[in-house]
């Protein structure tokens, strides 16, 4: 590096050469006179009026090439003075130069000792200079420069602090606890610092405890978890993975653990206390390997949850017993009749037996399984209608104390398309069901008449709403009846 007197920049020469009439030189003179409160300042400015902008720029440039802060200051003052006479001069070059010089003066200081010229810095670029400072472990200065120059945190402060932390973890003589605390204190509120990077650095230098402590500060679970696994911190890894809510991460840990633990019992014991891990694993097993689920449930049985399981089981016990009974009977029926009843619900079994006319068994099943009367009746009506056993149906309707209305019979007949049969029951329908039943069998006119007779408006509008499927002529007649209803009132 040669800072010898022979290599002046052209612009320096233009300003300081004796007798120079360059605009920069004139401005420099003017500024000096101005500080002396001499009116000559005005004269000089007038002379270079046209070239004032060039003058200002020359002074700024020249300042950059000066080593002495006092000279830098004089030149900058001159350019600042010149700027006052320009209306739309952009301030950036001036501000920029001030900043650069400040940085340069700092690094030139003997405590740092990087004697850099402005031109060199231009070629080197600021990020490289900062890197050099980092390499020299001048972290504090690098951070301050970044903050001064408003470098975004990601490239500036955060990055440098991460370097600092990585350097710190290499210092073996420091206490781990203290170190971890120091690092976290400095880096906690710094966005974008990768604690996992620092932790892996620590791990590389064989400081596992420190790495674990540092990793605790990592915000990104996807970075944190794999490293924790690498360090054998299984339990922590699992907790962190679950906390993140990222299922994939949980599986990463689970599969890692399963492969690692030779004894599956250990593995189950470990995940047992974590319901989410547990259920995720069960789900995975369900799709992969049912035997594993059984193992897991077996393990569960030995645990505190046993009580809960038992309660749950006794709850469903009754139903299961009943099902076993039903299956036994179905088997027997099969043996007797040679027909299949397997996989049928009780309802379906009864339905089939009714169709077959097997009254004994129907009655037996009905009693055995305590089928409620009402349900049994509806079932039997539908089954008979389905089997088109109209005679039996009619007989059934005459039984004592039916728990359902006659309309159920009409419904049954209509459901299987026998309108004639349905009409037979009409005379026995209770008055409040009459209109609806008439509509059901398609006797709209009669229904309307009945409604009019009973002066029941609700029923009448019900008839009206059903007219969609009625014959057009009938529909007209019914609509005409509306008047009658009103008139009689």
């Amino acid at each position: 590096m040669n800072l010898g007197p022979h290599y002046f920049a052209a612009v320096t020469e233009q300003i300081f050469k004796i007798g120079s009439i360059e605009p920069g030189a004139m401005l420099f003179e003017a500024s000096k006179e101005f500080q002396k409160r001499n009116q000559k300042a005005d004269e000089y400015i007038r002379i270079i009026k046209e070239k004032l902008e060039t003058a200002v720029n020359q002074c700024i440039q020249a300042a950059g090439h000066e080593i002495e802060p006092s000279k830098q200051r004089m030149l900058l003052r001159a350019s600042s003075f010149g700027k006052c006479f320009l209306t739309d001069y952009r301030p950036e070059p001036f501000v920029n130069m001030c900043q650069m010089l400040r940085v340069l003066n700092q690094v030139r200081h003997h405590s740092v000792g990087i004697p850099l010229t402005y031109t060199q810095l231009e070629h080197l670029s600021m990020p490289v200079l900062i890197d050099r400072l980092v390499m020299r472990k001048l972290f504090g200065m690098a951070v301050r420069i970044c903050q001064y120059l408003k470098v975004p945190d990601a490239e500036g402060r955060s990055r440098i602090l991460a370097h600092w932390a990585c350097f710190k973890v290499q210092q073996k003589n420091e206490d781990e606890d203290k170190l971890a605390r120091a690092i976290s204190q400095k880096l906690m509120d710094v966005p974008g610092v990768s604690f996992s990077e620092i932790a892996s650095q620590a791990l590389e230098y064989g400081r596992k405890q420190l790495a674990v402590k540092l990793l605790d500060y990592e915000a990104r679970a996807s970075e944190q978890v794999p490293l924790l696994l690498k360090m054998g911190q299984d339990q922590t890894a699992l907790t962190k993975a679950i906390d993140s809510g990222d299922t994939d991460l949980v599986y990463t840990v689970l599969l890692h653990l399963r492969d690692k633990k030779s004894n599956s019992g250990d593995f189950f014991m470990m995940i047992r206390t974590m319901p989410i891990a547990c259920s995720l694993y069960i789900q995975y097993c369900r799709q992969q390997n049912l035997k594993l689920v059984e193992d897991l449930y077996y393990q569960e049985d030995n645990s505190l949850e046993e009580g809960n399981c038992k309660i749950l089981r006794s709850y469903t016990m009754d139903q299961t017993e009943e099902q076993v009974r039903l299956m036994r009977i179905q088997r027997r029926l099969e043996d007797d009749s040679g027909r299949s009843y397997s996989d049928l619900s009780l309802q379906a079994t009864l339905h089939q037996l009714i169709l077959e006319g097997n009254a004994t068994w129907v009655e037996k099943l009905r009693k055995d399984f305590k089928v409620p009367d009402k349900r049994f009746w509806i079932l039997k009506i539908n089954a008979l209608a389905y089997g088109e056993d109209w005679i039996e149906l009619e007989k059934f309707s005459r039984s004592k104390k039916p728990p359902v209305g006659i309309d159920t019979f009409i419904n049954g007949c209509m459901k299987y398309g026998n309108r004639m049969e349905a009409m037979k029951y009409l005379s026995r329908v209770s008055p409040d069901q009459k209109v609806r039943c008439l509509v059901k069998v398609g006797l709209f006119k009669e229904a309307a008449e009945a409604a009019v007779e009973m002066k029941n408006e609700d029923d009448f509008s019900y008839v009206l709403s059903r007219l969609g499927s009625a014959d057009r002529q009938v529909a007209e007649q019914v609509r005409a009846m509306r008047g009658q209803l009103g008139a009689r009132r």
Binding site: D153, A154, S158, P191, G192, V193, A219, R220, A221, S244, G245, D246, T247, D248, Y251, T252, L255, P275, I276, C278, S279, L280, Q283, Y284, Q287, Q288, T316, Q319, T320, E322, Q323, L326, D343, L344, S345, L346, Q347, A348, F369, V371, P372, K374, R375, I378, L379, N382, S465, R466, G468
Partner: protein, 557 residues
């Protein structure tokens, strides 16, 4: 690249086409990574959602997508494209199918060397990749990517993740993956629309989502979206807070279409008979008519936008009024005398025709729905529901439910009613619950013991506990007498007299705030969440309020 067919998305307060375009861009980037002709192989569960983001025609014309296949065990149809891209959800059983397809292809050989790609939606999964490795096909993929599809814009005011099994996964299987995705897609939403300053929530899952969002924010290391917040409030409600509402029969136009025909990904398939025009009949033979007809239902259809949220009882009036105005506008052509007037009329024609077609469609749909709502079955069930939510005889065995079981009506209907009764009675007495269970098992079969036990595990059916429903019903005014179905003044019109609890919660939050209902909130399950996210000074604004909703729906049956 403002997409066609998505014009309705920017009609709302929040311009959702930004989100759609974002997904679209990301997806196209994802498939454009391979050069040359492509075939896309779709997991069936994804075709619907993707149809809302990128149209098949656009993919074919601009992105060299020559073929589209369904992912099936039978393998891929033969084709001579250069690249095959599998697009799939991370499900293990699908991995088996993909592996099978790959092995088949390799056996077949062929002249053209094919490249295979795999795209996971919404995320890669360790287990799936492991599975593919086990099957020995993982190495055959040129790349394995993920495409992060989260909240899909359905309409100008509606986003959905289309995760049907979320409730089951969370409350039955203890698998909260879907909540992680929910949190992620809310982060995406914030990246596009700015940080949401106020977050409120109720319920365990809501808390979990907010916690995860906080975590994700931290993980991003302080890089915040530099956008003025366009969403002011976010309200997250865990479905467990309001289990009752989805059990009740929906009574709005859209709700009923969904109830009867099931809307998925904003489209619905309807029986074709009503929609056959005279021309169609002439042109086609019998068979082609028997296929269900598909309709897309969204606010792009002016008439549907007006009808969708109306109580079905009000739909008839609107349709007939609209029909009259349209006829009147058509009649204007008779009064048009000058060339200028004629020209003006002609310029209106396309719009008139569109409205007329839509009128035709909705009249037919309304007729289909009316057949259903007029049936005794529907009316009786509705009456039963109304009684139950009003707390009438909820502590006894309900005769109507009993009848339904005896008549072997659909099990879903029976269970829905049963769960409603359980909700409205704050659980059933053990004796009554046992009775119902016996009835159901005897009638529908022993295998439903599992169904019932699942319902119990997930909180739909439970033994009697502290009375909360009555208190909540009164304080939150869930039951409203005298509702006006035509021009409603209260949200209760949607269920003809019942206001969904979740809506009431949102209303109270907007005014006067949740502090006024602390007691009710304490009665409802799960913690309450209130979180303020700091917004940098420069990005703050004063403006209208926007409420954003999420609820975790679906039944566990």
């Amino acid at each position: 690249m403002a997409g066609s067919g998505a014009a309705h998305l920017h009609l709302g307060k929040l311009n959702l086409s930004i989100l759609r375009d974002f997904y679209r861009r990301e997806f196209l980037e994802c498939i454009d990574k391979c050069t040359g002709t492509k075939a896309l192989v779709w997991d069936d569960g994804l075709t619907g959602p993707f149809g809302l983001i990128a149209e098949a025609s656009m993919l074919k014309e601009q992105h060299e997508v020559e073929r589209m296949f369904r992912l099936e065990a039978s393998g891929l149809p033969s084709s001579n494209v250069q690249n095959i891209i599998f697009i799939t959800r991370p499900r293990l059983h699908l991995m088996d199918i993909i592996a099978q397809c790959l092995l088949n292809e390799e056996m077949k050989g062929g002249f053209v060397r094919k490249e295979f790609y795999l795209v996971f939606v919404p995320r890669k999964s360790l287990l799936c990749e492991k599975k593919l490795k086990e099957q020995g096909v993982y190495g055959s993929f040129a790349s394995v990517e993920e495409f992060n599809l989260g909240l899909i814009p359905f309409d100008s005011d509606l986003l959905s993740m289309e995760v049907e099994e979320a409730y089951r996964e969370c409350y039955l299987e203890n698998d909260f993956t879907s909540m992680f995705f929910a949190a992620q897609s809310l982060m995406t939403l914030q990246a596009l629309y700015g940080t949401i300053p106020y977050i409120y929530g109720k319920g365990d899952c809501a808390k979990q989502v907010v916690d995860m969002m906080r975590r994700m924010k931290m993980e991003m290391g302080g890089v915040e979206p530099q956008i003025t917040p366009q969403i002011d409030n976010l309200l997250i409600i865990d479905r467990t807070v309001d289990l009752l509402t989805p059990l009740l029969s929906q009574l709005t136009y859209e709700g009923l279409i969904d109830e009867v025909f099931n809307i998925t990904n904003t489209s619905v398939k309807l029986p074709p008979e009503k929609f056959v025009t005279a021309e169609d009949k002439k042109n086609s033979k019998e068979e082609s008519i028997s296929e269900p007809k598909k309709f897309i239902l969204n606010s792009a259809d002016e008439l549907y936008a007006e009808l969708r949220d109306k109580n079905f009882n009000a739909v008839g009036v609107i349709v007939s009024r609209k029909a009259k105005t349209i006829t009147a506008e058509y009649d204007e052509r008779h009064s048009a005398k000058t060339v200028g007037e004629m020209k003006q009329f002609v310029s209106k024609l396309p719009h008139l025709q569109a409205v007329r077609t839509s009128l035709g469609i909705h009249t037919s749909i309304a007729e289909l729905i009316k057949d259903y709502t007029d049936s005794d079955e529907f009316l009786d069930s509705l009456r039963c529901q109304q009684e139950l939510i009003n707390g009438i005889d909820t502590d006894k065995v309900n005769p109507y439910i009993e009848d339904c079981i005896a008549r072997q009506e659909s099990l879903t209907k029976v269970l829905r009613l049963l769960c409603i009764q359980s909700m409205c009675n704050d659980g059933l007495k053990p004796k009554i619950l046992e009775y119902y269970k016996r009835e159901i098992i005897q009638t529908y079969g022993f295998e439903h013991l599992v169904t019932l036990s699942n319902l119990e595990k997930s909180g739909f059916l439970r033994p009697h506990s502290a009375r909360t429903y009555q208190v909540v019903r009164k304080t939150m005014r869930l039951i409203v007498e005298d509702i006006n179905e035509q021009t409603p003044t209260d949200i209760a019109y949607v269920y003809s007299g019942y206001a969904p609890l979740s809506v009431r919660l949102a209303q109270t939050l907007a005014r006067p705030g949740w502090r006024s209902i602390t007691e009710v909130l304490n009665l409802l399950p799960g913690p309450k969440v209130e979180e303020v996210q700091q917004i940098p000074m420069g990005l703050r604004k004063r403006s209208m309020r926007n409420l954003d909703f999420i609820s975790f729906l679906q039944k566990a049956v």
